[in-house]
């Protein structure tokens, strides 16, 4: 690992170059409060989720492959290394990257970097993040982010995409809402970038804003509806429930797994309670579907009968015959929003491949669901999922054997 000497040389140089300007820029290198605030903000923004290669031991040094609908992008090195990181960037260039979607020399960033969301942050917050990033160990790690196939690798094409899907600008508080709501909106729509996973996308990969937060399928999972829909979203959850879920991975209604487990483990479980409640308050006010559903599939239907018997033999040992699960261990299926998502991708994933639930300090047990792909055929998976989606007050579209077969093949290809 390179020593810090060249780094301090660069900082020193910029200090010399802009003698009084360092403080005027808003970054005081001795302002530990600002640095700590910046660190906290990077947790909310979950920079590490993309910019840290797991197991590398080098935080934020980039190189991690990010899946996009268009191909793979490698996250750049955002340590202060002057040649391979962002150490030589000016603060304005850094702020532009976060809020305008432009890199050094004005080149367009791909929206895998969620500038469409980060644009909302205040200048002060952006500078705080910069202040913190200036303090992480500089790592020399050259990364060529652009791995997309032609013609997508032509960054200039992003100009058109931005016209369609990017509305730059700092968050504007809503004067008719509480301070808590506004804080939650600022976080969820900004650094928290919830919609990046939870909002459905157009063919070009932009947000379908009319269906904000109603769920989106990515990387073999379905990021659930988190609107106020009382059946499929978090409408039936209290603010406490939502905050507890983000903090511990557990609520009365759900236990986090899959991609959200990573987010909770790395990001939200390290946020303070006030911010989590603010996000919860905001989400509960987001419009969604009204919770009505078609009538549940009747129990006499043959898939339901098969599903009931499979459930009794393979599922009730943990999830219990009444679907209520076991608090803190096996999530309830009865009245579960996750079970009733219109898109059953996550359910098929969990049944076919199993899943480990998140471990947090407050809730370390991290029980795992075993895989059933070896035992259950496509029609059997479809039957048991149809059964749980339409029992105990649940109502959701039946799952077909075809869907299960496609999911099985897709998951195998993903090696997951």
């Amino acid at each position: 690992m390179r020593s810090l000497a060249p780094l301090s040389g660069v900082l020193f140089a910029s200090l010399v170059v802009s003698a009084g300007g360092a403080v005027a820029d808003g970054i005081d290198k001795q302002d530990f409060k600002q640095i700590e605030r910046g660190r906290y903000l990077t947790i909310i923004g979950d920079c590490a989720a993309c910019h840290t290669l797991p197991g590398s031991g080098h935080d934020l040094a980039g190189g991690r492959a990010i899946e996009t609908p268009f191909g793979v992008i490698l996250a750049p090195n955002i340590t202060p290394d002057p040649t391979t990181g962002i150490g030589a960037w000016s603060d304005e260039e850094f702020i532009n990257a976060m809020t305008a979607g432009t890199g050094r020399n004005g080149a367009h960033l791909y929206p895998a970097m969620p500038y469409t969301y980060y644009t909302k942050i205040t200048r002060g917050d952006a500078l705080a993040i910069r202040a913190y990033l200036n303090t992480v160990p500089a790592v020399q790690n050259p990364v060529e982010p652009n791995q997309l196939p032609f013609p997508l690798n032509i960054r200039a094409a992003m100009k058109v995409w931005n016209e369609l899907y990017f509305t730059p600008g700092t968050f504007v508080p809503n004067p008719n809402k509480s301070a808590e709501w506004n804080r939650g909106a600022y976080l969820a729509e900004g650094l928290g970038h919830c919609g990046l996973c939870h909002t459905p996308k157009t063919l070009l990969g932009g947000d379908k804003t009319a269906e904000r937060l109603r769920g989106y399928a990515l990387q073999g999972w379905f990021a659930a509806d988190i609107t106020s829909d009382p059946r499929r979203g978090i409408g039936g959850w209290s603010v406490d429930d939502i905050a507890k879920y983000l903090k511990t991975g557990h609520s009365q209604a759900s236990i986090a797994t899959g991609l959200m487990a990573e987010t909770i483990g790395q990001s939200t479980s390290n946020m303070n309670d006030a911010d989590l409640r603010a996000i919860a308050t905001y989400l509960k006010d987001q419009p969604g579907r009204d919770g009505t559903a078609a009538d549940p599939v009747p129990p006499e239907q043959s898939a339901m009968k098969m599903g009931a018997r499979i459930y009794a033999d393979e599922c009730s040992g943990c999830h219990v015959s009444d679907g209520k699960g076991s608090a803190g261990l096996f999530p309830p299926l009865a009245k579960s929003a996750l079970v009733q998502q219109i898109d059953p991708t996550s359910l098929m994933h969990v049944v076919l491949r199993g899943a480990r639930s998140v471990a947090t300090d407050a809730a370390p047990t991290a029980a795992a669901m075993p895989q059933f792909a070896w035992l259950l055929k496509d029609d059997e998976v479809a039957a048991v999922l149809t059964y749980i989606r339409n029992s105990w007050g649940n109502a959701a579209p039946a799952v077909s054997a075809d869907e299960v077969g496609k999911a099985r093949r897709a998951l195998a290809e993903r090696n997951e």
Binding site: P69, G354, L411
Partner: protein, 243 residues
Amino acid sequence: MHRINRRQLLPSSALALLMVSPAARATIIKGGLPWRPGSADPPTVVTPGGWHYFTSQEAATVEAFVDRLIPPDPQTPGGKDCGCAVFIDRQLAGPYGRAESMYMMGPFQPGTKQQGPQSPLTPAQQYRKALAALDAACRSKYGGKGFADLSDQQKDEVIEGLEHDAFKLDGFDGQSFFHTILTDTRNGFLADPIYGGNKDMAAWKMIGFPGTHYDYRDWIDRHNQTVTLPTVSIYSHPSWSQQ
């Protein structure tokens, strides 16, 4: 949507990275409970048809033998139709037959009964030897007929003789073989059908064992009542598709 071959992507978890470390097979675990999606070690389900270890002659002998140890009756098939010989065949063809889990280092010397079996022969080798000796002994006593060709009464005579160490086999302890094949036959009869025996869970249905159900919370308080759950096994659940 661009289809990603996940193998091209780096592992998305520090733990997974450590577990697939090529350095040494000693697995190093830290940072949390390991997880590999799809991880499981399910049993290999025996597929019927053919013999994987026995010659057709040996198979005929064993089928005849198991059908006398557990004869058919109107309600429940016997050892042969329950697949006990198939069970034994598949076991002998696999790690059990090769004594893979046993301590097979020498020196080999006979000991007391309390010291347990000390044979240098694997179970598969023992069967081969014993079956040959059995047939030879039968031919000698019953005018050239091997065990499989004897009448039921004669077969029973032979088995009783083995059981009481009265019917001697040349070069093999017949009484010991009797105990081995009796144990293996019972195992085939009553083990999960995935192993080739207990066909259609016939033995479980006979005794009233409902199988591999896991959740009896609704039954623990129902003392002295017949459990009415359908019989299920690890891989076979006929009740699932009944209407």
